[in-house]
Amino acid sequence: MTRKRKKNRKSRAGGARSSVNLSPQALEAQARAHLQAGKHREAIIDFKRLLEQEQRPEWLDLLAEAYAGRAQGLAEKGMLKEAAMIWRNRAETCHRFLAEPPYLELLQRTGQTDALLQLIRQQRREIEQRGHLPWLRAFCAVQVLAGEEGVLDLFPADDPLCRDFPLAEAALQAYCSGRDEEMERQLKAIPFRSPFRDFRQILKALSLLQGDAAAAADLLERVDAASPFHVFSTTIQASQTSDQEFLRGYQGMDKAQRHFAATLRGWSSEQLSLVQELQQLGDRPDPDKLLRFLLRNKQVLGEEYVRENALRVLVHHPRGEALVGKSLGRLSRFERDRIEALQVEQDGLPHEIYNAWSDLCLALIESKHRPDPKDALTLALMLRRMVRQWLRSEPANASVLGALEHALIYDPDDRPAYVELIRLYRQERRLKEARRLLDQALSRYPEDTEVLTEAVETALASNAFKKAARYARRTLELDPINPRVRDILVNSHLAHARKQILQYKAGQARKELEEARNWARTAATLGRIDLVQAMLESSEGQQEEAQRCFLSGFERTGGGLVGRLHLLMEAGRTQCPMASMLKQAQLPKLPRQATREQVLALIQALGEVHDQEDEEMLEEALEFLQTPLRSAAKLDFSQAEMERLCETWLRLGQQDLRTRYARTALKRWPATPVFVFHQIHASQDFILDLSAQELRQLETAHQRAHAAGDMRTAHRIAELLDAGMPFLPPDDAPFDPFDFDTDVPRLPPGKELERFIDSLLRGNGPPVIEEMKRELGLEGARQMLRGILSGHFDVGAMDDILDNLAQPKGRKRPRRKTPDTDPEQFDLF
């Protein structure tokens, strides 16, 4: 404060010094500029200095204007006494009339009633002559209603103010005591030009507030902003707004307004003090403060509500558990485990999340001697949650599928769960189970197009083309514009056509293509049909027709990179050499660098193709597109597009492209965790071998991803860091493949892992591997290495391997469960 005052003194002195050195013309220009800019204090100093040099009337007027502006500014800041002082200085220095409306208002607001009445009495005639009589009447109407009846003595008895006051007062009293008819009668008697006219509107609006809010709002709108009664309309309007708006407006109100508005709104003083306490928490309350607020006010908020919400806060603030227990009683095991599961979901690894929900399900089952239907539904929901959380980042397995089947037992009316399970079984190639579930779903939902669509897809997966077409027709009868089924139907005919081409049955193939054309609706689909036809014509030696179909198919499927991809894939599907088909098609020459749009269209197409196609075929097709894709890394992609591109290259095993794109992205967005991950991960070979610098980069990226809430990248980097530990144990601890306590690093599953295992098993490998081959045989050693290197191996699995090896060939070995949970445990009944 002292510093502030010093600063102000300094600036004032500085201002004065600068004014001293100015010529009168320059000083006048500066004074006017200050006035124009609303710098009234500076304008007052400048004009006073000018008036010291010459008493020019024009400058005096401008000084009075500056004084008035300064007084208004102070009054708006609530510095009412200071504002009144400025008015008095104005009157004295500029020889102006003191009893102006703003000054009289200031006297009233500062409680100087005697001074106010005396001034009005002395200056009444002058006020009237200046045309302020209507204002004075309205102003005095407020005073007299506020209880200052002495004001009436200032006016003759026949003045509207004195005449209408008894009517307004009687109406007010009638309203307060709930006598609306009496109020109406009194209000009707108040004439239109009365100084109580606005007060009449306000009382009328108040009486309508409960019954006809819109009419009340209309009446309040009619009260002019300049009316002395305007504060009533703003206060009443504020009382009728939403809670949030009211809370915002409440801040700007004075004590009297707050009382008035809160009464109309129906809030008690206790509620109001809680509202104020709540405001201090801010828009995004700190969890600890929020928890304490909830617990402190459990009586007002309701104990059940507080318990429900306190538990929610605990998910983000586990340390508050003791506080909750103290206030609301100890948490049950179920409550504690549920909160823990939700906490683990925030930053746990997939198997931790799975296990947390699994524990909770078991806790519920164990706690129930007589389960009721609600428990079954709870269990079904938690099992589904557990499975969904797992499937967000991990593939399905027997345990997961078993849990989902159990969820259906507890909640058999869950149609989306049937669809999900059928889809998962199909993806796992467990078609028998998929069909079993499909039969159940179809018996429950025979006309559901989503279930029927699954029926089409499952039939296709079993190569039952006719059955698929039958289901598809049924679906289209129910939903004629179902594009997915149309697509499936076209695909089915195309698959059949390819089969006929491979068996040299051209006639049958043409028939299938014709059928496919009947169902096709889009240019892209017609393009794909053209490409199959091109393969047919080519195999039939119809080169001219083949080339026409190639071109048409290429154009219709999107041209550029996408059209080429479709052509190459179609060649692969019909077992034609890709290079020769590409040559035969005579497509327009591919530029050395693709455009941004072409690349984005290609990754869209790759996303669609990847799920259905053989990876090696896709890899072969992409070989033909490497040149334009490599040079396209430097194009102006957005960060999100770059992320998508890196993810696509990861999924397709295109490590060279992934490295290039991640490196370019890091130049544009340095140290972005996701690109650090892609660049380092893509550069690794079969065995992860991270340099010290890469480890440091990954550590930093991990912290940044965590801090930014990018948990997916954080997890991926954490896994990479774990796997990046030296593969072989130190020299003094020889590597023993049967030592399951050794912390063996993991390799990502897939082709790379298999190639690495091949290299270990080939020829004369390390002694431990040779011993493994001797003990378990080649296939047993392969399975064991796969288990060890993918991190999914335990001692119990050894028996599985030996059992499987003992089983006759062709019989499928039982699948291992990644989350170690037996679905049978989830039996509630």
């Binding site: 607001r109 506020a146 209880g147 108040l206 709540l278 539904l377």
Partner: protein, 102 residues
């Protein structure tokens, strides 16, 4: 996400029917063309709790702590609007009224 029960003004143990009625009333009071934001909030609240299964799902898995708006609404759930008495009128007339905007 705001508490769907508070948005629809229904108790925690409300039935499907009660929730549906509350939803219809709310969308009538806040039609999409007049207040799209409020309409969207009502719609989303209804979709969150319209069936018993959804309500159980909300109770089991929702982790959103109450927002200040939720608490404010909860605090204001038992409102008893009253007419201001003469004292309140006089207080407001003395403090705020009479002030005009020049």
């Amino acid at each position: 996400m705001q508490d769907p029960y508070l948005i629809l003004c229904v108790p925690r143990d409300a039935t499907d029917e009660v929730i549906h009625q509350a939803y219809l009333t709310a969308v009538h009071d806040y039609p999409a063309e007049r207040d799209p934001q409020a309409f969207q909030a009502i719609r989303s609240a209804y979709e969150t709790i319209r069936t018993q299964k959804l309500r159980l799902e909300y109770a089991l898995f929702n982790t959103d702590p109450p927002t200040p708006e939720d608490l404010l609404q909860r605090l204001g759930r038992e409102r008893r609007p009253r007419r201001p008495d003469l004292g309140l009128f006089r207080e407001l007339l003395r403090s705020g009224a009479g002030e005009t905007k020049s």
